[in-house]
């Protein structure tokens, strides 16, 4: 068990393993993405309430659902960095923060494009999901800027790990308090939550396919970025030199 764990932490081992996985993951991503997009755009019948705007939701829900994975991911990576001093976890965490910020931003952008049709407004403070996603974005930006501010890479790794752990706990508290805050203001809100989810099994199947596709995209992109990070940080080691010579 311990051996396996330390092996998992070895960047070289990860680089080789991920190199073997990457083609399969990419292929699966392309397949799911194509099915999801073609079905979503061409075949999905218009929702009886929302018409063709339900096509927005397919993408939005997939991205939003996936971006919920980032704080747990960074929590785990941060714990591993602090407890076992595993460098690989930090390399993943660094890129997860950046990718997570992208995800949060796209969630907000697509959400407000959908909201502008359904609610007639681009931004709605009474939607707790949008508000807590906004603060998730802020927290991720905080982690990213802390890393860029700290020069020593080891200090940066540990500091960001700690901040991610604190941030995760906070995201949960923020989420619940914003929800609470919202229920009290809901009276004055133009939104009724019931209308926000279209019915129909086709919609959910299409969304599910997109969620799988986006998760696959997340792993492919994260692996690509992590591999770059490995190459940069391990540039002095023999195996990276051999690899560069071969390519």
């Amino acid at each position: 068990m311990w051996l396996w764990f330390s092996k998992l932490g070895s960047p070289k081992w990860f680089y080789e393993l991920s190199g073997r996985w990457l083609p399969w993951l990419t292929a699966a991503m392309i397949i799911f993405m194509t099915i999801g997009l073609v079905w979503g755009l061409l075949f999905l019948p218009p929702d009886y309430q929302q018409g063709f705007t339900s096509r927005i939701l397919i993408v939005h829900v997939a991205v939003a659902g996936t971006s919920l994975a980032f704080f747990p991911l960074m929590f785990v990576a941060g714990t591993i960095t602090l407890v076992w001093k595993m460098k690989l976890a930090d390399m993943v965490a660094k890129n997860a923060a950046i990718l997570g910020a992208w995800f949060s931003f796209v969630t907000l952008a697509t959400g407000s494009l959908w909201g502008s049709v359904m609610w007639g407004t681009w931004w709605e403070w009474t939607d707790s999901r949008l508000v807590s996603m906004l603060f998730q974005l802020f927290l991720l930006i905080g982690v990213i800027s802390l890393r860029s501010a700290l020069e020593d890479s080891e200090t940066a790794a540990k500091a960001c790990a700690l901040l991610s752990i604190v941030g995760c706990i906070n995201v949960v508290i923020i989420k619940y308090s914003v929800e609470w805050w919202n229920t009290l203001h809901q009276a004055s809100s133009p939104i009724s939550t019931d209308s926000s989810s279209p019915n129909g099994p086709e919609f959910w199947i299409a969304t599910l396919i997109m969620i799988v596709a986006v998760y696959l995209f997340l792993s492919v992109s994260l692996i690509l970025a992590t591999r770059n990070e490995i190459l940069e940080r391990e540039r002095r080691s023999q195996w990276v030199r051999d690899l560069v010579l071969k390519s």
């Binding site: 020593d152 890479s153 080891e154 002095r236």
Partner: protein, 201 residues
């Protein structure tokens, strides 16, 4: 009492030291030598437990320091580049705090120690009115008060005048005779007969 075994430390790709072994026993004064950037300060901070980015083992009386931090910290006195003297406070107020982090101390002992390091008359003046050498002397007063077995001193001689240097050398020898140990970095030629030297880099 303090042993380090196969220490390895690299900072951003640069290997500071590897496979470094060190043994410090009672009554020993050890001087760390090495050019600038050879890792003297880093080694000291690692040995004190301030810096944990190293590989290898450090033992205090045969037990890893990480497993007995409380025990180790109460027998350790460290004075770094930054001597730990607040400019706003007076020497007495500074010592009252920094000593009480480790042991019980009365004002009388503090005044006596300050007089011994030549700060009589400055006890109550705020430290920003004192010179760098006098700051150093305030921190040296802690050596007199402290019962710590192990002293780790990073460049304690730099700002001292000739008299201060002699006095500190004297203090180090007194500590060694009392069965304590000293680890010190300096570029000075120390006037201490039984000196062990460890060269880095």
């Amino acid at each position: 009492m303090l042993t380090a075994h196969r220490l390895f430390c690299a900072r951003d790709d640069r290997v500071l030291f590897k496979n470094l072994n060190l043994e410090l026993s009672e009554g020993q004064i050890m001087q760390l030598r090495g050019s600038n950037g050879s890792g003297k300060t880093t080694l000291m901070r690692i040995l004190c437990g301030l810096n944990d980015s190293y590989e290898g083992s450090i033992k205090w009386y045969g037990q890893e320091i990480a497993d007995q931090a409380v025990n180790f910290f109460s027998s350790l006195l460290y004075i770094g580049h930054r001597v730990g003297v607040s400019k706003v406070l007076s020497p007495v107020e500074n010592l009252r705090w920094s000593c009480s982090l480790k042991q019980r101390v009365d004002d009388e002992a503090i005044y006596r120690a300050l007089a011994e390091v030549g700060l009589r008359g400055f006890e109550e003046s705020p430290c920003y009115t004192l010179s760098a050498g006098q700051h150093q002397r305030v921190s040296l007063a802690r050596l007199i008060i402290s019962p710590a077995r192990l002293w780790v001193l990073d460049e304690p001689f730099t700002t001292l005048d000739a008299k201060g240097v002699a006095q500190l050398e004297n203090l180090l020898q007194r500590q060694a005779q009392a069965g304590g140990a000293v680890l010190v970095t300096t570029h000075h030629r120390l006037n201490i007969p039984e000196l062990t030297v460890l060269s880095l880099g």
